[in-house]
């Protein structure tokens, strides 16, 4: 079996979530690589969107910014941020990828600040950007993040972006479109889902060589595990070849 890095494992695991004929809003980096990989291998009709206005580009290389020229290179449409966000609000967008500074068991994300006083944050982060919008409006939110207790916390300092909020039904009660919400978390340890009944994280599969104990150690809240617990299929030779040769030949992402 081919050797691969954790980043390559994460990108392949993320790519496999994406079906043909669907739409996905991505950022730069790993999510974009995942979408490009899926597009090249089994989802030629996967339509990639960028929140700044690019729709369906033929990506010549990995973008540096979600609004740079690459994001609408030979695109179907180069529009506005509203064009994208309103597509999401109309229910036309199936998937979105987000990162997470902090995340809790219901998938609520903090990318705004560390500390208890909003007026004087201990550490200020960028804030929502489009994350709150995309997680509110797209059907399924996938988070890609390294897993550790600094990130996987019992309570996020600030709910920048809605997961299932306080739990099942809370999104709808707040007015968010029904049927949306966190779908998977792809980490360096495994793939985590949210069972419908609990809307609370549960590990679905562990990457090769990872134990449940490692996951527990690197999670700041009691993690659930699906039974039976699967092993994430490692990247195939074909996945790795396309990822390395076509998607990210300059190793912008997989070289990290």
């Amino acid at each position: 079996m081919a050797e691969y890095t954790q980043m390559e494992m994460m990108i392949c695991a993320a790519a496999r979530q994406l079906e043909d004929g669907r739409t996905v809003v991505v950022g730069t980096g790993a999510p974009c690589a995942a979408a490009m990989l899926a597009q090249r291998l089994w989802a030629p009709n996967l339509m990639i969107l960028f929140e700044a206005g690019g729709i369906g580009p033929l990506l010549p290389t990995m973008p540096i910014s979600v609004g740079d020229s690459r994001t609408f290179h030979r695109a179907i449409l180069a529009g506005s941020m509203n064009e994208i966000m309103e597509m999401c609000q109309r229910g036309l967008v199936d998937y979105t990828f987000l990162g997470a500074g902090q995340i809790d068991m219901h998938g609520n994300i903090n990318s705004t600040m560390v500390g208890q006083d909003y007026r004087k944050p201990k550490v200020r982060f960028p804030g929502s950007g489009g994350a709150n919008d995309l997680a509110s409006l797209c059907w399924r939110t996938i988070v890609m993040t390294p897993q550790d207790t600094r990130r996987f916390v019992p309570k996020v300092d600030f709910v920048t972006t809605p997961g299932y909020l306080a739990g099942k039904g809370a999104r709808e009660a707040a007015g968010l479109p029904p049927g949306t919400g966190p779908y998977k978390v792809i980490t360096d340890l495994g793939i985590i889902g949210y069972p419908q009944e609990s809307c609370r994280m549960e590990v679905e599969s562990l990457h090769a060589g990872v134990t449940a104990d490692t996951v527990r150690e690197r999670t700041g809240f009691p993690m659930l595990f699906k039974e039976p617990l699967a092993e994430t299929p490692p990247p195939t030779g074909e996945e790795l070849r396309v990822l390395r040769e076509e998607v990210d030949p300059y190793r912008y992402v997989i070289g990290r």
């Binding site: 609004g67 740079d68 941020m81 966000m85 609000q89 200020r124 489009g130 007015g175």
Partner: protein
């Protein structure tokens, strides 16, 4: 059903009737508005104004105009931070801002965080109100439509809402809870475009981000442009006009005016220089020297371009933009 209003400060009240009176007074004569960046910023940006900036952080940003805001040491400005990255870095570098509507600030996307911008928030020097990117874009849209507010379905249930100045309402038809976003009409919009005529009729190639609405929302608009074209060229394809002249107060012709950002179809971003900027921000003293060298110590933006390698460097970035030095991936 409706939640308590957001606790954040509303920096710009949606006084649509006041805005209507202001728009009524604005001259609509088709006269030349050509001027230097210095004159444009001096005439149209005042201490305490609320700024909106076009483009997307490092893409099609009006760098030449932003440098001039810093060079003229404008202070106590308000700012709409929707994916503001290098634009924000410049204004915070000049200590120009005292209040910010935050959707995306202090970061440069995958490039990392601006240490200086973070210090400005962490010290409490800048007052912040939270929003999302779409929320700020729709707030411009509301003002562009002449409405005091627009409904939306984002931010609900989160702390982003709690620390915003949004409200919730019940839909008069469906009863469902909706976000209510107050219109945002900046005092001044700074927007960089591909080409425009002397009157301010402008075309933009590629994504427009929120700029069509920003130009229509703002009380005053300053354009910087890569190319000056005759009015005839605008009239050849009137459906390509992004911003009509009567919204525009000043037109500044500045080739490479979005450097070190990316200008679609013209030049790619100068990632080295952006990295340098992030690096010097680690140390306030270094940043001061850096700003002295590249900004305060220079008479104008053209001198900055010269210092950064002039036409030769710009041609490299142009080749990169046009993918001339790498194979096509597709």
């Amino acid at each position: 059903m409706s939640e308590p209003a957001g606790e954040g400060k509303l920096f710009s009240f949606p006084d649509v009737d006041g805005l209507r009176r202001l728009h009524r007074e604005k001259a609509r004569n088709m006269v030349s508005k050509l001027m230097s960046a210095r004159e444009a910023i001096d005439r149209f940006v005042h201490d305490g104004d609320y700024l909106g900036v076009g483009g997307f952080g490092t893409n099609r940003i009006p760098t030449a105009l932003l440098h001039e805001v810093v060079r003229q040491r404008k202070k106590k400005l308000g700012f709409a931070g929707h994916t503001s990255t290098h634009d924000f870095q410049i204004l915070v570098g000049g200590d120009c801002l005292d209040r910010v509507d935050c959707a995306y600030v202090v970061g440069l996307e995958a490039r990392g965080l601006s240490a200086n911008a973070r210090r400005a928030f962490e010290s409490g020097r800048i007052e912040a109100t939270e929003w999302s990117n779409a929320a700020l874009a729709w707030r411009y849209k509301a003002a562009a439509m002449g409405l005091p507010f627009l409904p939306a379905r984002v931010m609900l249930g989160t702390d982003t809402y709690r620390y915003s100045a949004a409200k919730t309402i019940a839909c008069p038809f469906t009863g469902e809870t909706l976000l209510a976003l107050p219109a945002l009409a900046p005092d001044v919009a700074l927007i960089h475009v591909h080409r425009c005529d002397e009157f301010g009729n402008a075309q933009i190639d590629g994504i427009t981000v929120a700029d069509l609405d920003l130009a229509r929302a703002a009380k005053r608009v300053i354009l910087s442009t890569e190319y000056l074209v005759p009015n005839d060229q605008i009239r050849e394809r009137p459906h390509c006009t992004a911003i009509p002249y009567f919204l525009v107060d000043g037109v500044v012709v500045q080739r490479y005016g979005g450097y070190p950002g990316n200008m679609p179809y013209e030049y790619f971003s100068d990632e080295e220089h952006l990295k340098e900027w992030l690096k010097v921000e680690q140390d306030p003293g270094e940043l001061e020297a850096f700003l002295q060298k590249y900004l305060y110590g220079l008479p104008d933006f053209q001198s900055y371009l010269e210092l950064k390698g002039g036409e030769e460097r710009m041609l490299q970035l142009r080749a990169e933009e046009l993918l001339e030095n790498r194979r096509e991936g597709v």
